[in-house]
C-alpha cells in the first residue's frame, strides 16, 4: 500500500514536471516568429489559408479530394506581414510561366481561387513586391496543392481495409496510426480496447459492406457499414461469429483519413 502511494506520487511528480516542461516549449515558436517580425526588411506572409485551412510554414504539401472542393476550385487567402506598403502580390501555379496579380486589401490581405483538376498537383508560389521594388523569398512560399484522383468512398474503403489488415496481424502500433489524436472518447482508451481484442481473439475474419459515405464538407466524413465478423476466442478455443451495423466518423487531414469517432457497435475493440 505504501509502495503504491510512493509510486503514485512519483508518477504525479513526473507528470507535473513534464507538463511544465512541455508548456515551456510553446514559447519556442512564439519567440521565433516575434524575432522575425522585428526585422522590417523581411517581406513575408503573415499567414496563408488554403481552402480555409491554415497552412503553417512547415507544411509544404496539402492534399484535397476533388469532390470536396467547392465548385471544383481551390481558394487561397493570405496576409502580408508588417505594415509596410506593398505594391503587388502575384501568384503562380504553372511552374513560373504566368504570374497572376491578385487584389490586395488595405490591411494587406488577399485572396484568389483557381479551378483544380483531379489527379493534378499544383506548385503554388506567391511573389510579394514592396514599394521599393524588393521581393520576398518566392521559393519559400512554395506549397504543393495535390488533388487526389480517388473518391472519398474509395478512400474510406482503403483505410478500413488497412485497419482490418493490421488488426488481424496484431500490429497495435500500426493500427493506432489510423486513429486520430483527437479521437472522441480518448485515443488511449481505444488503444486499450483494441489491444484487449488482440490478446483475446485469434484468426479474425471481417467482411463489410459500405452503405453510405457522407462528408460534412469541412474536415470530417461519416461512413455507415454493415459487418460480418468471425473469430476464435483464445481462452476457450471456440469459433464465434456476429454481425451488425455501425457508423464511423473519419477526420480528413491532408488527403488522409483517420478515425475520429465510432457511433454504434464497435467494429474493433469490441471484446468486453
Amino acid at each position: 500500500m505504501k509502495g503504491r502511494k510512493v509510486s503514485r506520487k512519483i508518477i504525479a511528480g513526473i507528470f507535473c514536471i513534464a507538463s511544465f516542461f512541455l508548456v515551456g516549449l510553446i514559447p519556442g515558436p512564439v519567440v521565433l516568429w516575434a524575432a522575425s517580425a522585428e526585422r522590417p526588411e523581411d517581406i513575408r506572409l503573415e499567414y496563408l489559408y488554403i481552402n480555409k485551412k491554415m497552412i503553417p510554414e512547415t507544411e509544404k504539401k496539402v492534399t484535397f479530394f476533388s469532390e470536396l472542393l467547392p465548385g471544383g476550385r481551390v481558394s487561397v487567402a493570405g496576409k502580408v506581414a508588417g505594415s509596410a506598403e506593398v505594391r503587388s502580390v502575384e501568384v503562380n501555379i504553372d511552374g513560373r510561366r504566368t504570374w497572376q496579380k491578385v487584389r490586395l486589401a488595405q490591411d494587406n490581405t488577399f485572396s484568389f481561387r483557381f479551378r483544380a483538376q483531379k489527379g493534378e498537383t499544383y506548385g503554388l508560389l506567391i511573389r510579394i513586391t514592396d514599394a521599393k521594388g524588393n521581393t520576398n523569398n518566392v521559393e519559400g512560399t512554395l506549397r504543393l496543392v495535390a488533388i487526389l484522383d480517388r473518391s472519398l468512398y474509395g478512400a474510406v474503403q482503403d483505410v478500413l481495409n488497412r485497419m482490418i489488415e493490421v488488426y488481424q496481424r496484431r500490429a497495435s502500433g500500426s493500427f493506432m496510426a489510423y486513429v486520430d489524436d483527437s479521437f472522441a472518447g480518448e485515443k488511449e482508451e481505444y488503444d486499450r480496447s483494441v489491444r484487449k481484442d488482440m490478446s483475446a481473439i485469434h484468426d479474425v475474419d471481417i467482411r463489410y459492406t459500405l452503405n453510405s459515405v457522407t462528408p460534412d464538407y469541412k474536415d470530417k466524413v461519416s461512413a455507415s457499414l454493415n459487418f460480418n465478423r468471425s473469430y476464435t476466442l483464445i481462452r476457450t478455443g471456440r469459433r464465434l461469429n456476429d454481425q451488425g451495423s455501425t457508423a464511423m466518423i473519419f477526420r480528413i487531414g491532408n488527403g488522409k483519413l483517420s478515425l475520429y469517432a465510432v457511433n454504434g457497435p464497435p467494429l474493433f475493440g469490441f471484446i468486453r
Binding site: F15, L22, G28, Y47, A184, S199, G237, R239
Partner: protein, 558 residues
C-alpha cells in the same frame, strides 16, 4: 412521463409496417427537388452496379454454429447513381444507392436503400437533403442524420455562418418505413449553430441541439428513452501563426426514461463539459496540451463525451535530427468527480516513441520504436483495482533488393493487483512482398507472411501459442487486363491448459479480376471470380467444419 399503456408498438400495425411521417414525405419532396437539375444540360451523371452470385458450402459438425457464411446460392447487388454539375449559379451533387441480397449475413433486408443524398449550393445558401452530416463541435453534434440541413454563409461579407439541421438518427433508411427486422428507436435530432469569424484568427460558435426519442418505438420495455438538450459554445484563437487555442463549453439537460414498465420513472439530469486545448507548431516541434472536465451527469447524445472524467493530456512531437522523430505523450484522467462512487480511479499513461528514417544509411529503412506505461490506481474503500501494464512495440520497414519487408515485434506485461492478472505477451510478424515485371507484359507478385503470439499466464502457469503463416502469388497480365492471385496458409492455436481446444485453420483463396474488351464502353467494366476454402480442425472434433465459397460477379461503372 411515459407509461407502457401509452405506447403502441409498430409491429402491431398491419404487416409490421410503420406509418410514413409528414417530415419524411417533405424530405423526399425536397430530395426530388434537389435532383431535378440533373435533367439540365450542364451536368455529369454516373452509375455503378456490382452484381455477384455466391455459392457457399459448409460441411462438418461444427459448421452450423461457427461458420459466418450462409449455405447455398446467394446474390448481392449494389447499385449507385450519382451526379454533379452547375445550373446557373447553383452547384449540385446527388448520390443514391441501393442494395439487394438474399443473404442475411449481408443484410437483414432483401432490398434496401443504402444512401440517398442531394446537395445544392450557390456559395451563400447550401441545402442538403437525405443523408446529412453536419459536425458542429465535439460535445454538440458529430452524428449523421437522415434529414436535411440548411447553411447560410456569405464569405465576401464575413457574415455569421448559420446552420440548421433536422433529421432522424437512424442506422438505415428502411427503418423509417420498414418491417420488424429493421426496427430501431426513432430518434429525432434538431440543431442550430451560429459561427462568426471575428478576424481571420478568431472565431466563435454557438450551438443548440436536441435529441428526442419517440417512446412508442422502444424495441424492449427496458430500452432507455432520451430527451436531451445541449447548449454549446466553442471558439478558436490563433494569436500568432503556429499557436492555436481551442475551447468548448457545453451544458446538457436530459430527461431519461429507463423503462416503460413503471409509470413514474423519469430521471432528469443536468451536466456540463468543458475543454481547452493549446497547440504550438513551429520549427521542429509540435506541442499540444489539453484539459477536459466532463461532469458525471453530462450527456452528449449526438456528440461525443465520456461523463465523469477530468483529464490532462499533453503531446510533444519533435524532429531531433533530419531522420529522427521523437514522440512524447502523457495522459492523466480520473473519475468520481461528484464523489458518489465508492472509489476513484486515476489513470496515468506516459509514452515515448522514436521514428528513425534511413536507418544505418539504408534509404528505405524506417523503424518505429514505442513504449507505453499504462497505470491505473483504484483508490478508496479498498474495492478499487490497480493495474500496471508495460507495452513495447517495434516496427521495421525496409527494402532488400527487390523485396519489401514489414516486421513487427511487441512485448506486453499485464499486471493487475491482488493476483487478478499476471501475464506476458510476445507478438511478432514479418511480411515480405515483391514485384517483378517481365517484358512489360506480365507482373508476378509473391507474398510471404509469418506471424504469431505467445501468451504466458503466470498465475495459472499456462501458455497459449499462435502461429500464422501464408504464401501467396499475384499475377498481372497487362495486355489481357487480367489480374489473379492465390494464397494458402495456416493459422494455429495451441493451448497448454487441459480440456481446452487447440485448433488449426488451413486456408486457400483464388481470385481473378478481368476487364474484357466488350465492357470497354463502360468507364470500368470488370468480371471477377473470388473463391476460398477454410478448413477448421478442433481438438473437440464435433466443432470441426469446412467452408467453401465461390463468387462470380460483374462490376460496371459508367
Amino acid at each position: 412521463m411515459t407509461s407502457a399503456n401509452e405506447e403502441k408498438s409498430p409491429s402491431s400495425l398491419p404487416g409490421g409496417m410503420r406509418p410514413v411521417s409528414l417530415p419524411f414525405l417533405l424530405l423526399i419532396a425536397l430530395l426530388v427537388l434537389l435532383m431535378a437539375p440533373a435533367h439540365a444540360a450542364d451536368n455529369e451523371v454516373h452509375f455503378s452496379n456490382e452484381f455477384s452470385y455466391t455459392y457457399n458450402d459448409i460441411t462438418g459438425p461444427g459448421g452450423d454454429d461457427s461458420s459466418s457464411l450462409t449455405r447455398g446460392f446467394r446474390y448481392l447487388n449494389l447499385f449507385g447513381f450519382m451526379g454533379n454539375g452547375t445550373v446557373r449559379e447553383l452547384e449540385y451533387n446527388f448520390n443514391i444507392g441501393f442494395k439487394a441480397t438474399d443473404d442475411r449475413r449481408n443484410d437483414v433486408a432483401t432490398f434496401s436503400p443504402t444512401t440517398i443524398q442531394g446537395r445544392m449550393t450557390n456559395k451563400i445558401h447550401t441545402v442538403n437533403a437525405g443523408d446529412t452530416f453536419e459536425s458542429f463541435s465535439q460535445y454538440s453534434l458529430s452524428t449523421a442524420v437522415k434529414g436535411a440541413s440548411y447553411r447560410y454563409f456569405n464569405e465576401q461579407k464575413n457574415s455569421p455562418e448559420i446552420t440548421m439541421v433536422y433529421g432522424y438518427v437512424l442506422p438505415r433508411w428502411d427503418t423509417i418505413w420498414g418491417g420488424i427486422e429493421t426496427r430501431a428507436i426513432e430518434r429525432t435530432a434538431y440543431g442550430m449553430r451560429i459561427k462568426q469569424n471575428f478576424t481571420p484568427n478568431i472565431w466563435a460558435g454557438l450551438s443548440y441541439v436536441q435529441a428526442k426519442d419517440r417512446p412508442g418505438t422502444r424495441l424492449t420495455p427496458t430500452d432507455p428513452i432520451y430527451d436531451s438538450n445541449n447548449y454549446t459554445l466553442d471558439a478558436e484563437y490563433r494569436p500568432i501563426p503556429g499557436l492555436t487555442f481551442r475551447g468548448e463549453f457545453s451544458t446538457s439537460r436530459t430527461t431519461m426514461s429507463p423503462t416503460s414498465l413503471t409509470a413514474q420513472n423519469e430521471e432528469r439530469t443536468h451536466g456540463t463539459a468543458s475543454r481547452i486545448e493549446a497547440v504550438g507548431e513551429g520549427g521542429p516541434s509540435r506541442v499540444s496540451l489539453e484539459y477536459e472536465r466532463v461532469s458525471t451527469e453530462f450527456q452528449s447524445i449526438l456528440g461525443a463525451a465520456t461523463p465523469d472524467r477530468e483529464k490532462i493530456k499533453s503531446r510533444w512531437r519533435y524532429t531531433m535530427a533530419k531522420n529522427i522523430l521523437l514522440n512524447l505523450g502523457l495522459l492523466w484522467f480520473r473519475d468520481n468527480l461528484d464523489g458518489q462512487k465508492a472509489y476513484r480511479t486515476d489513470s496515468y499513461t506516459p509514452e515515448v516513441g522514436f521514428t528513425f528514417k534511413n536507418l544505418l544509411g539504408r534509404q528505405a529503412a524506417t523503424a518505429d520504436l514505442a513504449y507505453k506505461y499504462d497505470r491505473k490506481f483504484g483508490a478508496g474503500n479498498g474495492s478499487g483495482i490497480s493495474t500496471a501494464d508495460h507495452i513495447a512495440t517495434l516496427n521495421y520497414r525496409d527494402t532488400f533488393g527487390p523485396v519489401d519487408s514489414d516486421a513487427n515485434v511487441g512485448y506486453t506485461i499485464y499486471s493487475t493487483e491482488r493476483d487478478m492478472r499476471q501475464a506476458k505477451e510476445y507478438t511478432y510478424s514479418l511480411a515480405l512482398n515483391s514485384r517483378h515485371e517481365i517484358n512489360e507484359a506480365y507482373v508476378i507478385k509473391p507474398v510471404l507472411y509469418l506471424g504469431g503470439m505467445t501468451s504466458r499466464d503466470d498465475l495459472v502457469l499456462e501458455t497459449d501459442q499462435i502461429y500464422e503463416y501464408s504464401f501467396g502469388m499475384g499475377f498481372e497480365f497487362l495486355k489481357l487486363k487480367l489480374n489473379s492471385d492465390f494464397r494458402i496458409g495456416q493459422n494455429v492455436l495451441e493451448k497448454s491448459a487441459a480440456g481446452t481446444d487447440n485448433s488449426t485453420k488451413t486456408f486457400g483463396s483464388f481470385n481473378i479480376y478481368y476487364k474484357p474488351a466488350f465492357l470497354k464502353k463502360f468507364n470500368e467494366g470488370m468480371l471477377f471470380l473470388r473463391s476460398f476454402v477454410n478448413d477448421f480442425r478442433f481438438s473437440t472434433q464435433s466443432r470441426s467444419f469446412r467452408e467453401n465459397s465461390i463468387t462470380l460477379g460483374v462490376n460496371l461503372q459508367y
